[in-house]
Symmetry: C2
Subunit: 131 residues, 2 copies
DNA sequence: GACAAAGTGGAGTGAATTAGTCCAATATAA
DNA sequence: TTATATTGGACTAATTCACTCCACTTTGTC
């Protein structure tokens, strides 16, 4: 029922990138020091952000990471799902899950409402408004 | 980011008890068969509901389980926290956690809002309205 | 009073997830 | 060419999840 520490690392990373959003890349080393994230673990985390098209990386000397889009166009829910996959308060709300109960199960119905309420907040939250 | 299967078992159990709420106890065997829950695992689950004062058990022959209160006075969030403990979308929102960051951290702030939105739905949902 | 039915309590287990760590390989700016 | 970065993959300890097994206690009924 919690986001993982890795997801929090991802959010912190995106915030760090948004803060220094001058078009230049920042090294993972710098981010790991600023945000106190184990460097090797941070690299893995950034890879997930790359796959979600949230950041762009540049290899080699003077390489690093930068936002793939302006912070005004990135929502919190995108960052979370980049690490955790689709959000589902219960197995039965995960995409592709076939409920063996009747389709209008009262449990999934209320959990879906709770999930929607939460997602609405996360979808409306822009990265730029968190700096 | 999901409730556990045990929590869903607990909700199903409470629904089963609410359905047959005539003041008589129901055996865990019966509940496990109706809701397809492994019997021994269900017993553990019911013990957690007992500790949360949501159900009352009766030992011995003809014993079983019944609601501790009318279904109109039981909310979904009580059932969930009985199994999972206090709900916290992130470690930093768990009771008693001291945030090493500045206290008005933007991450905890927005996660708290998302959590509140979710909790509001779960707190307003009565067991009696789910049957 | 014996017996069977029912909850209680505790130990153990296999699989999955979490949160890393280590290291070799590759790319690239200077 | 070399120092500096990211990439990718293997490995691991600790924890959680979802049970399972079983001995024990309680209690209604015959």
């Amino acid at each position: 029922m919690q986001i993982t520490r890795q997801t929090e690392y991802a959010i912190k990373t995106m915030l760090e990138l948004a803060k220094n959003a001058n078009g230049n890349v920042i090294s993972t080393r710098f981010i790991s020091e600023q945000q106190e994230i184990p460097e090797d673990f941070l690299k893995k985390t950034i890879k997930l952000l790359v796959l979600a098209d949230l950041v762009i990386t540049q290899r080699g000397a003077q390489g690093g990471v930068k936002l793939a889009r302006p912070a005004e166009e990135i929502t919190l829910v995108e960052i979370i799902t980049a690490i955790e996959g689709p959000i589902a308060l219960n197995v039965c709300l995960a995409p592709g899950y076939k409920c063996p109960n009747q389709p209008n199960c009262s449990i999934s119905k209320v959990l879906r409402r709770a999930q929607t309420a939460m997602l609405t907040v996360l979808e409306d939250q822009l990265l730029s408004d968190m700096i």
